[in-house]
């Protein structure tokens, strides 16, 4: 009765809701997605090749440019991997550890705020964008106060931190975290019980825990499927064992649950920050660097180390030949790259407009996908 045929449509790479330069070739039957094929690589800059050709400290600014909305966690993953390679993980002073935790939790907040703002705007809710950027701006100001940069922080060094905290910084953070819980309530009042928001997210892109693990999904999408796994708890680094926080998990593994998980993660990050402030104040000022040789030349060996970045498991695999100051091979395991791989499985059978929600809910950053 009706003429039924499939059509191939390009989605991106210049589509605003693809969060960068992601291109998806969609096979659609009317509005329904039959198959989706992500095409990536538009932002490939050969970061891993660069890492092989420069000394370890020189690599740190390049890690900023991978997940450029969460550069502090990229720095953290890299310096920790090199420290593990050199066997100096235990020597990092307490104050430096706390500063690293604070910066990466602030970074998690700012990354999640950017995610919420763009995810909501993709789905059609304009207002949260302004609220989220109001607070994100304050976080970026805190970064600027510490290291002078707002986005590409380059704020960690192998063996410690580059600078001590500027005077008054902790008070500024305290003022921010005191108000931030109320701000999260505000975002939630806009979305959580919003009928349109629920229509667009509940039951969209359901992924079961078994399937999520098979696809290698990590971070909030994995927890949204009900797997209580967070590297900060499972294989803790820095001083996370001393800090209290809970791991929020979802039940249904759909877009709405992943949204709830990230909202709760922001509260938990805020709680961690609150705990950190008195702990930092108790440590001696200026004790921010381990006593290590200025030339970073790790012994021959290979390590894989990963941290919980805002997007999931961010891992570095470094092989050192023991002769040079360069990594012989440095492979990055970007969470976005692996999570994005499951997009076709999640998108099948949904409408084209749901694909926008799905790209948002995976929370990809193409700088990290393509490296």
């Amino acid at each position: 009765m009706f003429d039924v045929h499939e059509m191939e449509v390009n989605f991106g790479p210049q589509h605003p809701s693809t969060h960068g330069v992601l291109r998806v070739i969609l096979k659609i039957d009317g509005e329904r997605i039959v198959d989706a094929k992500p095409i990536i690589g538009y932002l490939h800059r050969g970061t891993e090749k660069l890492f092989e050709n420069m000394s370890y400290p020189m690599c740190i600014p390049h890690t900023d440019r991978m997940d450029y909305v969460a550069s502090a966690t990229n720095n953290l993953g890299f310096v920790e991997t090199v420290e593990k390679l050199m066997g100096i993980t235990k020597q990092i002073p307490k104050r430096a550890q706390l500063m690293r935790v604070m910066l990466s939790e602030l970074q998690r907040l700012s990354s999640h705020l950017l995610w919420l703002a763009t995810h909501a705007i993709d789905i059609g809710a304009m207002t949260p964008f302004f609220y989220c950027f109001r607070e994100r701006e304050q976080i970026l100001d805190l970064f600027e106060e510490y290291c002078g940069a707002r986005l590409t922080l380059n704020c960690m060094r192998i063996g410690g931190m580059p600078e001590d905290l500027p005077p008054g910084w902790l008070d500024d953070v305290e003022a921010f975290v005191d108000k931030f819980d109320a701000a999260i309530d505000e975002y939630e009042s806009l979305l959580t019980n919003n009928r349109i928001w629920k229509k667009r997210t509940v039951g969209i892109g359901v992924i079961s825990p078994e399937e999520a693990i098979d696809w290698g999904i990590t971070g909030p999408p994995l927890r949204g499927s009900g797997v209580e796994w967070d590297l900060r708890r499972a294989q803790p680094y820095e001083c996370y064992p001393e800090l209290q926080f809970e791991i929020p998990i979802g039940k249904n593994g759909d877009t709405y649950d992943r949204y709830l998980v990230r909202m709760e993660e922001m509260r938990q990050s805020n709680w961690i920050l609150k705990q950190c402030i008195p702990l930092v104040k108790a440590t001696p000022a200026g004790d921010i660097k381990a006593k290590i040789s200025r030339v970073v030349r790790p012994p021959e060996g290979e390590v894989y180390h990963s941290i919980e970045s805002p997007k999931g498991e961010l891992g570095y695999y470094i092989i050192a030949d023991g002769k040079t100051q360069n990594a012989y091979r440095c492979h990055v395991r970007p969470p976005s790259f692996v999570n994005l791989q499951a997009l076709p499985a999640m998108a099948k059978g949904h409408l084209v407009s749901d694909l926008v929600a799905l790209i948002g809910t995976i929370d990809i950053v193409l700088g990290e996908v393509d490296r």
Binding site: D214, W215, E228, W229, A234, Q235, S306, G322, R329, H331
Partner: protein
């Protein structure tokens, strides 16, 4: 999938054990509680083992990697964290195969990691583990793209980060960090033949193709004489940005009194009023002899007049003014 992960014990995270001063032997590592059960099933495929910084690396017989991977997956290592290729060709004192592939595995129930490794050379494929873990798909594609390692049985082994048709594998050690000239031209519709950036170009030609049009004091002056000489030999014409540069040859002569870049277009056309079509076309050019079109001004006019080219859009410094005049002239209206 048999193992739905339980929450790892929240209170007792296993810290990475410090590197042991005395290395354990292969058999001792195989008996390690972490890998013992998987090694019972497929232990004979494990060639050697290594420990560093509390991490166990097992080198596996290439042909039996799928069997070993299944043994580990069924023993709880159901999460393939990462898969990375390595090119050992410039590793100090390396005697083994050229390439290595490392599989980082994680077990939720044991809350620990194991690394499997296989080695191969340029031509021997590695059996794909996509049938064991779905996530291996893109990882193997990336390794193929970056190293040229073939994975046998992969459902869709094509390039993922580089584009189709790229002729190289960037993470091989013999691939230069400056890139290679792949011959593929970028934006061929914008830049003239021979101009424009090239995929993987060395950067030496960047000066020719930069789209900056004003003065460039910190790069020195444009090598006008060199460009003119090159063009005279029929060499590569310079890019349109050189269009503003007035060559030494751009001086009015008796045959061509209009050949003066200082004169405006109506004045030049007036001077060429009595000439033939070629002269009129010549007068319509910008008179800079910049060679952005591939000729000097006279050559381009002659080429248009003789029908060698019909493209009237090549005069860059003349801009729209020249183009519209050329259009009229070619249509026989002026």
């Amino acid at each position: 999938m048999t193992d739905v992960p339980q929450q790892p014990s929240a209170t007792a995270p296993k810290p990475a054990a410090p590197a042991k001063p005395v290395a354990r032997s292969l058999d001792e590592i195989k008996r390690d509680p972490l890998v013992a059960r998987a090694c019972e099933r497929a232990g004979d495929a494990i060639i050697s083992a290594k420990e560093f910084a509390g991490e166990i690396s097992l080198t596996v017989d290439r042909e039996r990697i799928v069997e070993v991977a299944k043994a580990f997956r069924d023993d709880g290592f159901n999460y393939l964290v990462d898969l990375a290729g390595v090119d050992y060709s410039s590793y100090p004192n390396w005697t083994g195969d050229r390439f290595g592939v490392s599989y980082m595995l994680y077990s939720f129930s044991k809350n620990n990691r194991v690394r499997l490794k296989v080695t191969t050379d340029e031509n021997t494929p590695i059996p794909s583990v996509t049938s064991v873990w779905k996530t291996a798909n893109w990882h193997e594609r990336e390794t193929f793209d970056m190293f040229g390692i073939i994975f046998e049985g992969h459902p869709n082994l094509e390039r993922i980060l580089m584009w189709d048709g790229f002729n190289g594998h960037p993470l091989r050690k013999d691939f230069p960090i400056r890139g290679i000239d792949t011959g593929a031209r970028i934006y061929p519709e914008v830049f003239p033949e021979g101009g424009g950036p090239k995929a993987g170009s060395t950067g030496k030609d960047v000066k020719d193709v930069n789209i900056y049009k004003g003065d460039w004091p910190h790069y020195g002056t444009w090598p006008v004489a060199e460009i003119a000489a090159r063009a005279a030999e029929g060499g590569m014409p310079p890019a349109p940005e050189l269009a503003g540069v007035v060559a030494d040859t751009a001086k009015p002569t008796e045959e061509a009194p209009w050949h003066d870049p200082e004169k405006a277009l109506p004045e030049r056309m007036e001077l060429a009023r009595a000439g033939n079509l070629k002269d009129k076309l010549f007068a319509a050019m910008a008179q800079t002899d910049c060679t952005a079109c591939g000729w000097d001004c006279e050559g381009y006019a002659a080429a248009l007049a003789s029908g060698e080219t019909t493209d009237i859009t090549l005069c860059v410094p003349g801009e729209d003014e020249t183009e519209s005049m050329l259009k009229q002239l070619m249509a026989g209206k002026a």
